[in-house]
């Protein structure tokens, strides 16, 4: 069996497992629901952490998403992929959060850890070969981007995050937001236009910074 057909077989098996778990969860088996959670929750938490101002907020969005899914699971009728259905709930929960946050005008606290203290840095966080000046510059750009993203409206922000940081296709984003691919694309263009205007001064320096991208999973020689 070649690798493509082996991957197809694995994907088919995973789909069958997921379907069995959904049916068991719909029949009232809580363990099956928790097994479903384990299949999809890393992405849900990742998205929430990108959009939330604090780790605690991200954890609350995560929990709210899965509680809503749990309560509505009996209404899932296999008319779309379970991941699309779940991400639709996650997207709406994140949108609600962003709208509330826009009203409250909270300040982001991205540098804080779970309890407000600075997190213990992991030795694996640093890129090999990157010098401190480059890392500092890259960090500043990320902070500017973060601030500019906070200036988008919730829907534009969500579309931009799903496209550029979750790597989703516009078609999938449209499905998740219960809208068309074209509408999702328009939201993305509006977001891009606003961000480019806000970051015009950084734009020229970007090509030189592309070389800073670290290779994941590598350890530095020295902390």
């Amino acid at each position: 069996m070649d690798s493509t057909s082996a991957q197809d077989t694995d994907a088919a098996r995973l789909r069958a497992d997921t379907t069995a778990l959904i049916r068991a969860a719909q029949a009232g088996d809580p363990a099956a629901f928790e097994a479903l959670v384990c299949q999809f929750d890393r992405g849900v938490l990742q998205l929430a952490r990108r959009l939330a101002a604090t780790e605690q907020d991200a954890q609350e969005i995560y929990q709210e998403t899965f509680l809503k899914a749990y309560r509505a699971l009996h209404r899932f009728r296999f008319e779309c992929a379970f991941s699309t259905w779940l991400y639709r709930i996650a997207a709406n929960t994140n949108l609600d959060y962003l709208r509330r946050r826009a009203v409250r005008k909270e300040l982001p606290a991205s540098a804080c850890g779970e309890d407000g203290a600075a997190p213990l840095p992991d030795p694996a966080d640093r890129a090999p070969g990157a010098n401190p000046e480059q890392l500092l510059l890259s960090g500043e750009i990320a902070a500017r981007l973060e601030a500019a993203l906070d200036g988008l409206n919730p829907r534009e922000r969500l579309v931009f995050e799903l496209k550029h940081y979750e790597g989703m296709k516009l078609k999938a984003i449209g499905d998740i937001l219960a809208t068309s691919e074209e509408t999702a694309k328009n939201s993305l263009f509006r977001a891009t236009r606003k961000l480019r205007a806000a970051l015009a001064d950084l734009h020229a320096a970007a090509p030189a910074l592309a070389s800073l991208r670290p290779e994941p999973g590598t350890m530095p020689e020295e902390v």
Partner: protein, 327 residues
């Protein structure tokens, strides 16, 4: 390719949906068109700028904490509605979309009429189900709510019937595995948690088991359960950087001093260079002098020089024995 075609491709590029063929076509056009070349470079520069934002990936510890909290929240949830296998065809969302209004055939109307009369007769003549049927055995019942019924002098009780079942087999059985994972994260019964963790220990390297063990280690209120989870995770210390990071958090944050010492001892089992890094950090960052002393002792056993800052907090005291005091 015209400049208009190139513009369309640039929009696709900006959306992050350009294929390799799109890029090749753009490159071919841009080679002979300076205006499009400039726009192309501008788009690439923009995408490079966007890529500068790299939020840290979700750590195993953060995920474990989220799962633990979700597990507790789910336990407090009432049982969800159970999906039935049959539904009114005319009321399904798809049918409503297709027809906008349900079509009521004479046969449906007659059926509903008969069902209505039949239901009325049953309600009037049949003995009350709630009052007439024998009460289920107490051990099988979980009362969810008690409230006055609509008629005076009557009461409505909503209860769950709990059916006890048994399953036995190897812990590798998926169904048993689910149940063990569930039991391992139920703080209400520490004894059951300990048994479950012991049964799950051989599978500690598998993702759901590892997540549950990490959740127990970082979030369970019982120090005995946390210790059992730590011991189950110990074989993973050499190979798994995520487990080592969680152990470092335990050293810094766990309220139980015995567990903090066990976490230091487990970290000392990591590959020498990595163990040295963590122990060096913890020997300075921990607010507990006994932890710092143990980190220094562990480093000495590995023939590693502790940082000077670690010695600042305590003068030449002998390193303590590695015995653990459990709460």
């Amino acid at each position: 390719m015209t400049c208009q075609d190139a513009q369309a491709l640039l929009r696709t590029l900006s959306c992050g949906e350009a294929t390799a063929a799109d890029r090749t076509a753009l490159a071919a056009h841009a080679a002979g068109c300076s205006a499009c070349r400039q726009r192309w470079h501008s788009e690439e520069a923009w995408l490079a700028l966007v890529a500068q934002r790299r939020p840290a990936p979700v750590s195993d510890a953060a995920l474990a904490q989220a799962r633990q909290a979700l597990h507790r929240a789910l336990a407090a949830e009432p049982a969800p509605s159970v999906r039935r296998g049959w539904r009114w065809p005319a009321f399904s969302a798809r049918a409503l979309r297709a027809h906008r209004t349900p079509r009521w055939s004479p046969a449906w109307a007659a059926l509903l009429l008969i069902a209505g009369f039949g239901g009325g007769w049953w309600a009037h003549h049949a003995p009350s189900l709630a009052a007439g049927s024998p009460a289920p055995a107490a051990a099988q019942v979980r009362v969810q709510s008690v409230e006055p019924a609509s008629a005076p002098g009557q009461v409505r009780v909503v209860y769950d019937l709990v059916r006890q079942q048994q399953i036995s087999g190897p812990a590798t059985n998926p169904r048993l595995r689910h149940l063990l994972l569930l039991a391992a994260s139920q703080p209400a019964n520490a004894g059951m948690q300990l048994e479950s963790i012991a049964a799950l220990r051989p599978a500690a390297s598998q993702n759901p088991v590892r997540q549950t063990l990490l959740a127990a280690l970082t979030g369970d209120p019982n120090p005995g359960v946390r210790l059992e989870a730590l011991n189950a995770l110990r074989p993973l210390v050499t190979a798994n950087a995520g487990v080592r990071a969680v152990l470092a958090q335990v050293v810094l944050r766990d309220p139980n001093p015995g567990l903090r010492m066990q976490a230091v001892a487990a970290l000392a089992q990591a590959p020498r260079a990595d163990a040295g890094r963590w122990l060096r950090r913890l020997s300075v960052q921990s607010s507990d002098p006994y932890v710092r002393l143990n980190c220094v002792a562990a480093m000495q056993q590995l023939d590693l020089a502790p940082p000077a800052a670690a010695w600042g907090a305590f003068t030449a005291q002998p390193a303590p024995a590695s015995g653990i005091q459990h709460q």
